[in-house]
């Protein structure tokens, strides 16, 4: 079965800036595919190239197996939800959603049917919302109108460019869940651009991490999180303790920590980097774990869901630890001596395959 979207060696320059540097990727049908990266990495440009709003300098874009480089945006069978809404301010909700259908000269009764159906799908009850003017809506409602406007055309692929950026946390979380549900229930391929790695990890079937115009790693959220391919990915995705050291004979050695025996390590020896996630380091009952080190708490920050501790274990090494249990977190104060422990299986050699 042909993939929904295929990019082969796409390059795009703006003057002297190389926005997209020889990118190739494949998006399978009916997946939620995220393109994740910091601001300015080129992800919006990439999305616009897929949409047909920009033309690549070189490379091939295929949809459903067909080359679409010369096909204009309106004929590519996709929907596009913009960063910061682009609903038509001079039309009400119904007319906004019906716009694409009217362009296709769909018969009137069918338009009404489909618009009402899709409004219910995005949880905007037609009885209340259909005749509302767009400037009377909240940010979340406007975003849903824009999504409805694209979905009503039953596109094969829906492109979303950081659609939840300006929304409050609670609404954003609610919308994230809705987007996931919509993707599954309409069996559409979603290509979702974002700089928020929590969002990407929680929503996607696959994630492509971008940096400076290039793709650094592609994989499932678990792969990206647990097996980062380089320091950038390890650092960008969640927080990590990144340790530089040497591996020989399956043992990782670094200043400030006892040697860590890595089970089943068959990668390259020599100078390597090890990543340990802060939530995988225990501060209670550490004696039971294979790797232990003593340290002093030098910083404690309450962050609601967890408490962040900075523990100094040697002259130049401070580890970051997340404590989720509130009773434990409450008891610890800056200056306490603690024993930290972690499993070898929670250590990831960055870049190992």
């Amino acid at each position: 079965m042909d993939p929904a979207v295929e990019l082969e060696n796409i390059v795009k320059r703006y003057g002297r800036i190389l926005a997209v540097d020889n990118i190739s990727l494949t998006v399978e049908k009916n997946t939620f595919y995220s393109i994740l990266g910091p601001s300015g990495c080129g992800k919006t440009t990439l999305l616009r190239l897929i949409a047909g709003l920009e033309i690549p300098d070189s490379g091939v874009i295929k949809m459903n197996g067909t080359v679409v480089n010369k096909v204009p945006p309106e004929k590519r069978g996709l929907g596009l939800v913009f960063q910061g809404t682009a609903v038509f301010p001079h039309l009400n909700v119904f007319d906004n959603v019906a716009y694409g259908l009217r362009m296709r000269k769909v018969p009137k009764h069918e338009i009404v049917e489909r618009v009402l159906e899709v409004l219910r799908l995005v949880n905007l009850q037609p009885e209340i919302y259909a005749s509302r003017r767009v400037d009377q809506l909240s940010g979340g409602e406007r975003q849903r109108v824009e999504i409805a406007r694209s979905l009503v055309l039953k596109p094969r692929v829906l492109l979303l460019d950081e659609p939840l950026g300006p929304l409050d946390l609670k609404i954003r979380q609610k919308m994230q869940a809705e987007l996931k549900r919509l993707q599954k229930s309409t069996a559409t391929t979603f290509i979702y651009v974002t700089h928020d790695q929590t969002e990407a990890l929680s929503l996607s079937d696959r994630v492509a991490v971008m940096r400076n115009g290039g793709i650094v790693q592609v994989g499932t959220p678990e792969e990206i999180y647990n097996k980062p391919v380089d320091q950038f990915v390890a650092d960008f995705i969640g927080e990590s303790n990144l340790l530089e050291g040497r591996i020989s004979g399956g043992v990782f050695e670094t200043d400030g920590l006892p040697p860590i025996t890595l089970r089943e390590y068959d990668g390259v020896n020599g100078k390597r980097m090890l990543a340990i996630r802060p939530e995988r380091i225990e501060v209670m009952d550490a004696e039971k774990l294979e790797n232990r080190v003593k340290g002093v708490i030098v910083d404690k920050t309450y962050q609601g869901v967890y408490t962040v501790l900075k523990v100094s274990v040697s002259e130049n090494l401070t580890l970051t630890v997340y404590v989720t249990r509130p009773d434990v977190a409450r008891r610890l104060v800056v200056g306490d001596h603690v024993m930290l422990g972690w499993r070898s299986s929670d250590c990831v050699v960055v870049g190992a395959q």
């Binding site: 047909g52 204009p72 309106e74 682009a86 609903v87 038509f88 001079h90 716009y99």
Partner: protein, 275 residues
Amino acid sequence: MLLLPATVFYMIFFIIPFFISLGVALGVFLPSDAQISRGEIITLRYFEQTFDRIFLLVLLRSLLLASMTTVACLLIAYPMAYYIAVKAEKYKSFLLILVIIPLWVTFLLRAYALLTLLGPEGFLNGILIGLGIIEEPLYLIYNERAVLLGMVYSYIPLAILPLYSTLTRLNKSVIEASRVLGAGPVKTFVKVTLPITKPGVLAAVILTFIPAAGEFVVPSLLGGPDDVYVGTLVYNAFLAARNWNWGAAMSIVYISVVLIGVVLYLRLVGEELRV
């Protein structure tokens, strides 16, 4: 409270002068000697004098000229404003300055420039004759065509600015959204761009039509002896005939007609002005 400066300005420069003119037109202020001897405090004779066939024809002609000027200005100014606001990235400020500069040069000089360019011994005729395209010079000045040309020439900057103002605030994503949803460039313009920029268009129409209807400098410099408009009549009443009451009456009638016309137009085109 915030409206106070605007209200004061409006009172000083429009409401009060309007009522003063009305007073003059009714003979309440500046009564003529004949009127004083008759002992009339208010009279309608000046308004009667105004409602004669010639004045009404001239008024109609002025409105027609103002309409043609407005339409021509819109047709030229809109694409220019669109280009500057939407397409010209690097040269935007430069182009805006080019648009505004003519407003600083008094129209008198620009009118003479036009006369020189289009006159029988002027630049344009010189080239056409020199190239052998015509034998006799074209009569391009001191007639109605020259007046229209001069009007459009002077009013275009006034039309461009409000159009530019709404067009810069146009969200480009909305245009792209329309394209992706299946509307070609023409449909997008008609169904999206134009409705959204309506406030700018309305402002441009008003800013052009109202002053154009009363214009008398352009016709007097560029027009022939037959090119008489309302402005000319009022000017002559005040300065040639020295009949201020009559001049005032004509002004009041003209202002009322134009204002009523504009209000009707706005009602017709609908919506509050959200500029």
